[in-house]
Amino acid sequence: MSRRVLMEGSCAMAEGALQVGCRFYAGYPITPSTEILEYMAVRMPQVGGVCMNAESEIEAIGMVWGAAGCGVRSMIASTGQGISLMQESFAELANAQIPIVAVNMCRGQGDYFQATRGGGHGDYRFIVLAPASAQEAVDLIQEAFYLADKWRNPVLIMGDFLLAHTSELVEFRPSDELELPPKTWATTGAQGRRGITLSPLGPSEKLSTDLASALGKVTEKHPAIRAAEVRVDSGWVDDADLVVIAFGFPGRFVKYAVRLAREQGLRVGYVRPISLWPFPSAAIAEAAARAKALAVFELNAGQMIEDVQLAALGRVPLHAIGGISQDHSGFGVGPALTVENILGRIRDVYPRAAA
């Protein structure tokens, strides 16, 4: 029997993870992700799991590597700065095809490049999901564990200060997961079979020297992930002259500002990418084919706008209406993130011919 409870986004995500079988968590305190660690420290032992307050972010991701490599659903959370420290392991976790779920509770939205391109080396990708509410965060983190196991690829949830610290009603409603193959790749002790190696450097089979096909498997799945895992929310796009693109919690502000613009007679729509990788390029291309202009609202100096440009291919003018916005705390909740400001910026760039 599910019921709705009032929870901060951070705690709701942690609880959501536990409810789909996450049994290992390692973290290092850093605002605004710390509440996930605090919640796990209390709750993880209650469900028979392990929570480690690691001595550094680098050690935390190493611990998660070890636990996930043994076949246990494992999670880590931090903020952009801490995630920066984990990049070497992130890249190689993808190369070793070890499924983990990572959460970046960003300060602002300046970590879009870090999340979608990664700061690590090589041809790896993370599946990246950006929730706009506590409920969506719960749903996405539960799905993230499934996707990580399904593709044997790490999944990153990109949140922010507001998501972390806003209390909202949430309901835990894990959907029935499709059956996943057994984790025969996990190091469990050989238990009667030939030993295996779980490595980012090459094949799992002993004595094999076929490095190329082992590493090929890391990227061969990318087209299938692109085809299957795009998530996008959009509205009022069909007759829109201007389509505003925004992600994460600010995407929710944009959605509201777009509704107000509609009430004021402006033909505005929105596209909110939920999966940042794979990026919903088709939805953007479709909007670009119909609208007279596109605008991107993001709380950074202009990062997602590059993906929008690639999708829109210059069909219509593209306006950056966001920007870096800080208050004194440095956590990225600045004056730009108000419905009034967003509505004003929408009016500024609304196609003149249509206005």
Binding site: A67, C70, G189
Partner: protein
């Protein structure tokens, strides 16, 4: 010359490779000490009946060639990170037998923080460091355990106190930590030292199996290639140089270290 002798009734087999070693050839240099250490570890895993629950966490160095010829499960870690990876593995699989295999560059240079914290927490895995005082795989560069006077490509003229500072005695450092239950330093440069290495590894493995706390074995290994001496001169060089800075023996053997 290379034909095996036909067995006769009075012949008996006195030595063989462990079954867990899948291949007798290795890709390391002539005179390298690391394969001896590997053979000892695999012999003990076999002897103690641990094969089916063993997880080796390997670091990055010349010995990274070993996971492919060891018939046990191996988690390949990044340079410096094996103790944290082993922590995660052992915590979720407390019944597994978990040991790490790192070099001095991996553990003492790159990953010193990781091994210190793992030891302090009393993680119940066995950490093995193969210490040859040099980055072998990159071709002879100074590590944190390169001894004073030792010539490497990055200490031309020899490691100099003023310029390069002192080497780290990792075993003594680990032994200070309350979570460390067993700490020993061994060597593989003579037959008798190899026998002692086997004993120390055995005791460290037993320490883990008894859940007594963190167990640690440092093994001095020959690297004639990057000591710039002929293969046969490796053991002598080890005795004259590494062993003088790093005395052999059991440094700590404490009951119930974790309380």
């Amino acid at each position: 010359m290379n034909q095996p002798l036909a067995p006769t009734p009075d012949m008996r087999k006195v030595f063989d490779k462990p079954d867990l070693l899948l291949k007798t050839e290795h890709s390391l240099c002539p005179g390298c000490g690391e394969p001896i250490a590997l053979r000892l570890m695999l012999e003990l895993i076999q002897e103690l009946g641990l094969r089916n629950r063993t997880i080796c966490v390997a670091g990055i160095g010349c010995y990274t060639a070993f996971p492919m010829i060891m018939d046990v499960d191996v988690l390949q870690a990044l340079h410096g990170r094996a103790p944290s990876v082993a922590t995660g593995a052992k915590r979720v699989r407390p019944d597994a037998f978990v040991f790490t295999m790192q070099g001095d560059g991996d553990m003492v240079s790159e990953g010193l923080q990781e091994v210190i914290h793992s030891a302090a927490r009393g993680e119940r895995f066995t950490a093995v460091v193969l210490n040859n005082g040099v980055f072998g795989e990159t071709g002879g560069h100074a590590t944190a355990t390169t001894v004073l006077g030792q010539h490497t490509k990055t200490t031309p003229g020899g490691r100099n106190l003023e310029l390069h500072g002192n080497p780290i005695k990792i075993s003594e450092l680990i032994a200070q930590l309350d979570g460390a239950a067993y700490v020993a330093r061994a060597s593989v440069h003579t037959p008798s030292s190899i026998k002692l290495t086997r004993q120390y590894l055995h005791d460290a493995f037993q320490c883990q199996l008894a859940g007594r706390g963190f167990s640690f074995v440092e093994i001095l290994t020959m690297c004639p290639t990057d000591w710039f001496v002929p293969p046969e001169a490796g053991p002598g060089w080890l005795a004259d140089n590494l062993k003088k800075t790093y005395p052999l023996g059991v440094i700590k053997d404490q009951e119930g270290a974790r309380g």
